[in-house]
Structures are given as C-alpha cells and as structure tokens.
Amino acid sequence: MAIGSLKTLFAGEKGPLFQLAFKTSLLTFLTLGIYRFWMKTRMRRYLWSAIVPGGAPLEYTGRGSEKLLGFLIAVVFLAFYIGVVNLILMFISFTVMNGSGGGYLLSFVGLIPVYFFARYRARRYILARTRWRGIRFGLEPGAWGYAWRAIVHLLISILSLGWLWPRMTFWLEKYRTDRTWYGDAKFTQGGKWTMLYGPFKHLIVPAYISIAIGVGLSVVSNPISLGMLLIVTIPWALVGFVHYRVQSFRILAENKSLAGLQFQPHPRSSRILGIYILGPILVSILAGLALGLLGGVFAVIANFPGMPGIDAQLLLQGGSIATWLVIGFGALTYFFIFILYGALYQTFVTLPLIGHYAETLSIMGAESLVQVTQRHRDDAKEAGGFAEALDVGAAI
C-alpha cells in the first residue's frame, strides 16, 4: 500500500447499536415524541464514531436541544404552509376535479421545492456537526439555489423521458460537493455527467422494456410476456435501480478531490442489494416472532373467563374495565412491535449498509492532510429542522 493511503475500518456492532436504538425509541415513545431529537443525535453519534478512516473515528457533535430548537423554528413556518396550503389545494381539487386525488397530487408537487430546500439545509447541518481528526466539515449556504436547480433538473429529466436523469444526479452532486469544505480545504467534484451512463443503462433499459411489454399486454394478454415482465424485466429494473445508486455514488466519489486527497470507494452493488433484500426479511421474521409470542399472551388474557371476546366493534362500544385492559394490552403490543421493528431495522439494514460503504473506502494522498486547518463553527441554527419536520432526513 502506498504511503499516505488510509484504510477505513468499521467499528459498529449489532448488539450495542440495537440496545441504543431500542432504549432511545422507548424513551421517544414515553415522552410522546419529544426525545426523538436526542434519539437521532445519539444514533448519529454512534454511527459516525463507527466509521474509522485511518484510525481516527468520525465524530458527530450535534446536540438534541439544537435539533429540538431547529424543529420548533421549522414548525412556525411549516404549520402555515402545510395547514393552509393543503386545505386550499384540497378545496381546489374538490371544486375543479371532484376528487381528492388531484389535491394530494397538488400538495405533493407543492412540497417538492421545500423538500429539496430541506435536504440541503439538513446536509449543511450534518456536515457542520461532523468532525474527523478534530477538524470540522462544512457546507456553504445555498439551499434555495439548490432547490430551484433541482426542480429545473427534475423537469429536464422528466421531459427527456428519463434519459437525462444522470445529468441531474451529476449536477446536483457537483453543486453540493463544490460547496463542501473540510477545515479550510474545499472539495471539488470532477468528471462528466456522461460517466454515469455505465450503471444507468441497467435501470433505463429494463424500465423501457417493462413499459413496452406493459403496453403490449394492455392490448393483447399473453402469458409469456406477463412472465417476462414479472420474472425478468421488473426485477432487472429494481436491481438496476440499486446498482445505479451504488455505482453512481462510487463514480462520483472517485472523481472528488480535496486538497490533494483522492477517494477510492469500492462498494459492491450485490452486497448492498443483499442487505436491502435479506435485512428486512430477517427483521420481519424477528418482529413476527415477538408478535407471535405477545399474541399468545394476549389470547390467553382475552379468553380468560369474564373477558369479552376480541371484536373490534364490541370494543368500539366501550364499557367495562376488562375491555379497556384488552385494548390497553393491544395498544402496548402495537407500540412494542413498532419500536422493536425500528430498532431491528437500524441493526440489520442501516448498520450493515453504512458498514459496507465504510469498509470499502480508501483515502489516498493522506500526507497532505497535515496542511488542513480548522474552520469556523457554522451555527446552522435551524439544525435540519425542516427536514426533521418533513421527515426527509433519511434513515438516520
């Protein structure tokens, strides 16, 4: 290995992560959601520290109180937008189109600029609170510039019937990367948008074939075409989608540079796909086992002499204490499974995904790191609150 080449270790472990996730979700439940800001902060702190490039772990320095404040700030503005704008859109849809479908579509479209804005702001906050070797990352302001560019790119992608999608992927990544800093060193996104067509063909080609077969099937039904669609082209397109996500990340990262540093990521689409497929299956089996166990207990309680049968409509009638006990136990079971599922998902999907990306990353040219000096602290006051409020803050 060349001098100045840094390997990345992954120190995350399933047991401690599950414990942390379960404990903090439980606290979130008990505090009616208030603790979720601290939950997210602690989860990030753990996951960041698990990524160890060149022996020094990343550090997440965000605070729960900061996230709560950011959320409150966002609520002041978003409550108006969501409440009033949604209502007006619903009114328009029932006035003009006599159906709620149009209203939901309109309110979804109306949220797109806010979505991109929120994503950029969240990224800015996260980078401002990420350190490696004691040095802060940072992202320059520019959320509205990002939002309008993203919308123009999205329109171009749609108008080109998907063919210019890689162009959007590239230019949006370049916009973000070229505004990203590590200490006083600036990232640069090199390369061209056309370099993403390699992985993209496995998404666009099967997508087009699927559409063509689908159109054909709507004219004449044909079991062979249907089989082709279900067994070959749709799975191919789905695999292609994951492949594109993974490999476009790799290609873009390979073409980034930072003060003489180069990145060598080697994520494997097959591994990521495996995690996405097997992870949720495993999580569902484990959560299902827990549910089965609790269901057994529930059945014993419910069939106890003097207890009412489990009948949703009788329960709606309300009444006896026994009925309420049954309802209470049912509700607690629901929340328990909900929390368990979330914690298991973090353990068997989120953690392995981050782990794979981390372990397959090398950094070249590390000797130039000694010249990097600290940057000022970015207040990033609203702390990703818009993304938090809109729930677009991704899985972690």
Binding site: G33, R36, L72, A79, G83, V84, G134
Partner: protein, 376 residues
C-alpha cells in the same frame, strides 16, 4: 512520576493519538499519569508537553469502538485524545469524570421562546385560520365537489369500522330501504337542499348516526335495533338532515383535513404520535360540533312538527342512548356527533309543549319491522 503500566498492557498502550483541533495532523503522543498533580501528560513526538488535569478530562459518549476511549479537555474542547487498548481504557475511565457534550447547549429560555412561538403559530392556524378558511370554503364548494368529498370520507370510515380488514357492510334489504326512503321524504319535504339526501345503513352494533359532506347520512344498524319506535329514528334522521342543510359535515371534513396535516407535522412519524393525533383531532371536532348541535336540534324540532310528529321523539332517542350507556363514552365518542345532554332533552320536550300526545307515525308497524331488519 509514575508511568501507568497495567499488568497485561502492551507497549503501544502507552501511546495515544492526539489531534489539537487546529490542524488535521494526528500526533502519536506518549501518555503519563502524574499522580501527585493528578494530571495526564501528553508528550508530543517533536517534544513539548501538554498537561491535562484529570478533573478537566471528559469522555465523548456513545462511541462505537469498545476498546477505544475518545476524550477531550474542557479547557481545550476542540482537541481529541484517542486512547486504545482495554487496560489503559479501563484505567483512564476509572479516573475521568463523566462525559463531554460537544457543541453548545441551547439555553432553556431560547427553547421556551421558540416553543411558545411554535405553539402560538400552530394554535392560530388550527383554531383560527383553518376554521375560518373551512367555513368560507364550505360555502364556496360546488355541490358535486361536496358529494365527492363525502364519498371519499365514507370509504375511510367504512374501513375504520370494518372487521378483520374488510370494510363494514352496507345494508339494503328491499322493504327496509323503501321504509327508510319514505321516512326521509316525509322529513325533507319542502326543503331546498343543494343535493338529495343519500341514506345508508352500516352493519355495525354502534348506536349512532352521522352525516357526511354531500348529503350522505349514515345510520348504524345498532341505532335501528335500539330505537323503541319509528319516531325516534325519524328524530335522529331529522337532526342529521339539519347538519346537511347547514353543511356542517363539509366544514368539519375540510377543517380536519387542514389540521391533521399540521398535527402530523408536530408529532412526527412515530407510534405515539398517531394516538395523540387522533385524540387531538377528536377534541377539535367535538369542540366544533357543540355549537352546531343545538342548531341541528332546533332544525329537527321544526322538521318533526312539519311531518306531524312530536319533537320530544328526539328526547326519547337520547334517553334510549343514555340507557345503553352510549352517552358519548369511550372510543365510540370519536364517531359520535350528538352527545345526549339533559339540556338537549329538555329543549326537545319544551318544543313539544301543547302538542297532542297521539300522533301518527310515518311508518306503519310492518314498515318499522322491516326497517329494523334491514341488515337481517
């Protein structure tokens, strides 16, 4: 000066990685614990010492690597010391004093200020702006739009009331339907409604009835079974037609559509949120209904009189529901649009003052039986 050398430690355990928080350079420093001054001495590779009193050292919490401890000094919060090796980590942990929280803690006052702002903003929108808008919109919405809104809402309610994933069944046994329509025609005669009243009976034991946007009125089988006479059902129906005439359901549907979005925003996507959400929304709806109920009652008194019936049939129905314990208790209250209060019973009795005790019911005995059997 004493060098900490735990029995099983390797020589590398005496070293640690240090970053000063000013450059991205990692220095391999040697560690010495000086007992008499109670401090940790870091000797830099190019010479020079950094002295961290043990009382100043804090550990960074929630770290993944279990055999490593990351610490900082409260006097140099940007610097980090990364100590690896079980023995040294254990030794250090036993001597340092708790955890360090990087970044700045937001003051309680700032949070309180913004919490108040967020609360005021949400309260203003949910309790002032959305009701105002909903009232205006209910007036402006074309009848066809109201009917579509009602159909969308009805499907949601059917699913919510269904058993094991199947939407609740609607009942339409021939003679019963005819009887129901006869009753409705008698009550809405001469009324100028923007859309025809559309009656549905749902196969559910709940003792209740409600109106939806666009003239849709839903009676539960439970109500038909519980009623002691055809007049009691007629009274409930007249009350619900009152809601339709006032477009109350449209206002309520628009209002909850607006407030559900805002409350969802507040409580976020977590399990507890859903319950709080529905409870909060119920409160809003109940608060809203209260004022409209009296108007619908008065409307019902008039309609019953016009159909040659006594308004106190409504009082009888309330008494029947009270006896069944259906006085808007429990989860059922969510769907209940008419809490039976004594005030309302008295109002219905007062409206019947001076009327003949014997009136002719709208339905014959046979029609009444078939209406009660509409769901079998």
């Amino acid at each position: 000066m004493i060098v900490v050398t735990p029995p099983d430690s390797t020589p590398s355990a005496l070293y640690a990685d240090y970053v000063d928080g000013e450059t991205a350079r990692v220095e391999r420093v040697s560690l010495q614990l000086e007992v008499y001054s109670n401090s940790l001495i870091l000797t830099r590779p190019e010479g020079g010492e950094i002295i961290w009193p043990l009382s100043d050292i804090r550990e960074i919490p929630d770290q993944a690597a279990s055999e490593m401890v990351v610490c900082t000094s409260i006097n140099d919060p940007d610097a980090r010391l990364l100590v690896s090796g079980w023995a040294v980590v254990a030794e250090l942990r036993s001597r340092i004093r708790g955890f360090h929280q990087a970044g700045t803690q937001i003051g309680g006052q700032t949070i309180a200020k913004w919490a108040l702002g967020a609360f005021a903003s949400v309260a203003f929108i949910v309790f002032a702006m959305i009701p105002l808008l909903a009232n205006q919109m209910a007036r402006l919405l074309p009848p066809a739009g109201e009917v579509a809104l009602g159909e969308a809402t009805f499907e949601q309610i059917r699913v919510a009331l269904g058993r094991t994933g199947m939407p609740a069944k609607t009942c339409n046994r021939g003679i019963g339907v005819a009887a129901l329509n006869k009753m409705e025609t008698a009550l809405s005669q001469g009324l100028d409604l923007p859309y025809p009243v559309n009656l549905t009976v749902l196969d559910s034991p709940i003792v209740n009835a409600f109106a939806l946007p666009g003239g849709q009125i839903v009676l539960f089988d439970g109500l038909l079974k519980a009623a002691n006479s055809t007049d009691e059902v007629a009274a409930v129906l007249a009350h619900e037609i009152g809601h339709v005439a006032e477009r109350d359901p449209t206002r309520m549907a628009l209002r909850s559509a607006g407030s559900i979005g805002v409350l969802g925003l507040l409580f976020g996507d977590f399990a507890g949120g859903f319950v709080v959400l529905s409870l909060a929304n119920t409160m809003i709806e109940a608060n809203y209904s209260q004022s409209a109920e009296t108007a619908a009652d008065e409307f019902a008194h008039e309609r019953l009189k016009a159909a040659g019936l006594r308004p106190d049939a409504l009082a009888d129905m309330f008494e029947t529901m009270k006896k069944l314990g259906g006085d808007a208790k429990g989860i059922q209250a969510y769907f209940s649009s008419h809490p039976a209060t004594d005030a309302r019973i008295n109002a219905a009795k007062a409206a019947s003052a001076g009327m003949d005790a014997n009136v002719t019911p709208i339905l014959s005995r046979l029609e009444w039986r078939s209406l009660q059997m509409i769901c079998k």
